[in-house]
Amino acid sequence: MRDSTYKVAAGPEGYLPPAAAVMGVELPDPGQAIMEGECVDQDTAMKAIASKLVSAENPVFFPGPLILWDWKPGVAEKAAALKDLAEAVGAKMIPMPDYRPKYPMINPAIEVNPNHPNLTIVHNKIDVCLFIGVHCHYANIALKIIRGGTDCYTIAVCAEAGHEEAMISLRDAGICELQRLRELVIELKGGMSR
Amino acid sequence: MYLSARVDKEKCIGCRLCITSCPEPNVFKFLPEEKLVEVNDSRCKACGLCTTVCPKDALKIS
C-alpha cells in the first residue's frame, strides 16, 4: 500500500533514526524474508546471510533468553543447531541472558543488552551480528539502536514474523533454517566442515 | 582508596548477624568450615550498618 524507498542499511544512521515500519517497510509474508527493507524469497535471504557471515571480519551471534535457557521442548535441539552454525562460521557468541538495564553496567566483553547493544558492538569491534531467541519487541529496539549508532550489519533469525529493523531477517525460522544456513556457510567456505 | 567493611578474623565468631543487617546482596559470605564471614569489598557501600550489630566489635569500615 505504502511505497517505501527507505533503505534499512548499515549505519551509523544518526541520533535517532526512524523505525523502519514507520517509513513504510513491511514485514514479509510467510515463505518470504526481508533484506534491507525489501521482501525477497527466503532462499535469497539465506544465501545473503551466509555470505555476510562468511565474509565478516568479526561475526558475532547474540543468542537471547528464548534459546539460552532450555525452557521448553525443542530448545536444546535448536541451540545445538545454532552452535553448529556458529562453529561453521567461526563466530563468537555473546549472550543476551535477559533484558534488564543492568546495574551498574554490563561487561560489554561478555554480554549484550537490548537497551544499549552498541556498548558490546563497539567494545568487541563486531562488524556483523546475528540475533536469535530474543523476544521481538526487545530485538527490534536493539536492532534500531545498532542501526543508529554503529556500522554493524544486523541479521535477525526470527521464529515469528521477522524484523524490518534488521538488515536481513528471516521469519518462522527454526532448526531447519539454521541447518540450511550452516550448509550454505560450509559451501561458501569451500566445503570444509568442522 | 575506597571504603569497605573489614572483618577482624580473630574477633569474628561467625554469628552471621552482619549478614542479615546488610542492605546489599552478596556482600558477606559465610565460611562454614572456619565459622567466619568474608566481605566482598567491591560490592560493599561502606554504610557501616553491620558494625552496629556485631556483638564482638569484629567489623570496621576502613
Binding site: 530448545v75 545445538a80 | 564471614v37 558494625t51
Partner: protein, 284 residues
C-alpha cells in the same frame, strides 16, 4: 516454573556470565532457603542503585530471602525507591504505575489461577508507603475487601523518598519534610488495623531490626494468602537519606523508636489462618 527455566541450553554454559551460572548452581529456587542461609547462596537480588545504609533495601533483601517458593513467585511493585531495585531481582516482576499495584496484582493472580489451575503461584505486592497508604489506598483496601489471594508488603520508610523526601501518610506527626514545611498535621496511618478490619487473614508489622521475625511474617503472609485470603505485612524501613541519618543508624533508630514506645511489632491472625498455619508449621 518450568523445570528447564533455569537450565542453560547444553553447550552454552561457558558463554553465560558468571552471575547467571551462580544463579543456576547456587540460587535459591526450589531449595526452601530462608534468611538463615543468607551468605551461603546466590541471592535473587543483584547489586542495586539504592543508597548506602538504605533500610528499604535491607527489608527488600530479607523479604526476598524469605519467599517460601521463589520459583513460583511473581512480584508486583510500584513507583518508588524499591522500583529502582526491582530490575535486579531474578524473578518476574511488574512495575505498572504509582499506586495501582494491588489492582494489577489482582489481574495477575486471577489470570495465573486460570492458566495454571494445578499450580500454586504466589503473587506478592511489594511497594512503598506512598504507593500503599496514600495514592493507592483505595485499590489496596479494595483488594482486601474482595478477598484476593495476594500478599501486600509495605516497605515503610515514612516518606516519598524517591521524589526527594516528601511527607507521606505514614510519616510520624510533626515530621518536617518537603510538602509539610510546618510539620505533619495528622497521625501516622494505622494500616495494620485497617488491614485487619478489612478482612486480611494475616497482618504483621515488623522491621529488619528483628530479621527472623520479619522472615517469619513474610512467610506466613504468603502461605496464608495462598490458601485462605488477603494478607498484609508492614516493614518499618528507615530512610537515612531523607531523614538525614548516618547510614549506619538505620537499625538503631528502629530500636530507639521501639524503646520510646513509638513503634511496636504487631501480628493479627484470623482463626482460619491460625488453624492453617498450625498444620503447615507443625509439619515443618
Amino acid at each position: 516454573m518450568k523445570t528447564g527455566m533455569l537450565k542453560i541450553s547444553p553447550g552454552f554454559e561457558d558463554i553465560m556470565p558468571e552471575e547467571y551460572r551462580e544463579l543456576v548452581d547456587n540460587g535459591p529456587y526450589g531449595k526452601n532457603y530462608g534468611i538463615g542461609d543468607l551468605g551461603s547462596f546466590k541471592e535473587l537480588l543483584e547489586e542495586h542503585p539504592l543508597c548506602a545504609g538504605c533500610g528499604l533495601a535491607l527489608s527488600l533483601r530479607l523479604t526476598l530471602a524469605s519467599l517460601p517458593m521463589p520459583e513460583e513467585t511473581v512480584i508486583v511493585g510500584s513507583t518508588g525507591c524499591s522500583a529502582l531495585a526491582f530490575p535486579q531481582v531474578a524473578l518476574h516482576n511488574i512495575h505498572s504505575l504509582f499506586g495501582n499495584q494491588n489492582a494489577v496484582a489482582t489481574g495477575v493472580k486471577r489470570a495465573l489461577k486460570l492458566r495454571f489451575p494445578d499450580k500454586e503461584k504466589d503473587v506478592v505486592v511489594i511497594a512503598g508507603d506512598g504507593a500503599t497508604a496514600d495514592i493507592g489506598l483505595d485499590m489496596v483496601m479494595q483488594s482486601w475487601l474482595r478477598r484476593e489471594n495476594i500478599t501486600t508488603i509495605m516497605l515503610d520508610n515514612e516518606a516519598y523518598a524517591n521524589t526527594g523526601g516528601q511527607e507521606s501518610g505514614m510519616s510520624m506527626p510533626g515530621t518536617v519534610l518537603n510538602m509539610a514545611p510546618t510539620g505533619k498535621k495528622f497521625p501516622k496511618l494505622s494500616l495494620p488495623e485497617i488491614a485487619h478490619t478489612s478482612g486480611c487473614d494475616y497482618v504483621a508489622a515488623v522491621s529488619p531490626a528483628k530479621p527472623k521475625q520479619l522472615a517469619k511474617a513474610v512467610r506466613r503472609a504468603i502461605l496464608v494468602a495462598r490458601k485462605i485470603g488477603p494478607t498484609y505485612v508492614q516493614i518499618f524501613s528507615p530512610c537515612p537519606t531523607n531523614y538525614k541519618l548516618n547510614p549506619k543508624e538505620t537499625v538503631s533508630v528502629i530500636r530507639q523508636r521501639e524503646k520510646d514506645g513509638l513503634y511496636q511489632t504487631k501480628e493479627f491472625i484470623s482463626e482460619e489462618a491460625q488453624a492453617f498455619l498450625n498444620t503447615v508449621e507443625e509439619k515443618k
